[in-house]
Amino acid sequence: MVNIIWAFMAIIGIVYAMFNGTMNQVNKAIFESANEAVTLAIGLISVLVFWLGIMNIAEKAGILQVLTRLLRPIVVRLFPEIPKDHPAMGYILSNITANIFGLGNAATPMGIKAMEQMKQLSGTDTASRSMITFLALNTSGLTLVPTTVIAIRMQYHSIAPTEIVGTTIIATVISSLSAILIDRLFYTFSK
């Protein structure tokens, strides 16, 4: 599916540019965006190194396990395939906590660790049920305070930059709940 989407975005773009006279822009975009991707990946190094370093200490010192035990009752129902005391639980919880507080750059490294642990559990290169549930939660947002949006609103002199926090939280909760529901539906029908 990803192969098809990936190839089709580029195919449609190039063919359309032939008739639309935008080949110049397409040509420029290819190399500019490749450059942008490198900048993005290099930028990820700092947060990945820092957070995976800190989380490695937290795991070996037993802090992650304490966090897991505290918050487990909430998450255990969402991930029935993961054993209760498995380190994957700890990373999933850290990722969710970081997301809720809008700490996107702390959430990503913890999410990657969670995926790694879940892969060890399943042992294949096919996405497991828990992985998809976890991704569904992450793609639907989870953020309570959209800091970037508030910053942009302030920049354009909004009278009340934070007035959209309420609507954002309601929309996030609705999309997260539907993500969980849709995920369950797909799982049930895929069995």
Partner: protein
Amino acid sequence: MGIITSISTWLIPCFILLVLIVSTWKKVPTYELFVEGGKEGVKIAFSLLPFLLGMIVSISILRSSGALEAFVNLISPFLALVGIPPEVVPLAFVRPISGTAALGMTTELIATHGPDSFLGRLASTMQGSTDTTLYILTIYFGAVGIKKMRYALKVGLLADLIGILASIIIVTIMFE
């Protein structure tokens, strides 16, 4: 509101403090473990590069050709019939595909229509209430080498659709 933002700024330093105090107390080799974990971060970042680059280039070909815009112009009259303002249709389509492009569009909508207008509030809510599905799938599946995604993309995109519709309905109810 003020409480939530101050929790956000205090959370990380306090978490680091807690980790360092507990691990020193337990006589865990902190610095060595930090370096060991960090090395893994370097590896992950480099192995992610081809995944990110491939996806970002393909998306930017589609956008720069004008094909996405043409498609949006074609369908926005139909979406207007069900009450979706044509101005936010491009944002709705780009939000799950490209985070930077969506942020650019949100900024533009806020700049053109004003942050406190209906469209400004709607764009803000749409931008804040969901994350970039394609980016998250690329990063997480790429980092651990998952080749078969099964129904993950469908779940993510359907949830995005519901989130966008929810944003439109909620902003209409609360601000109109």
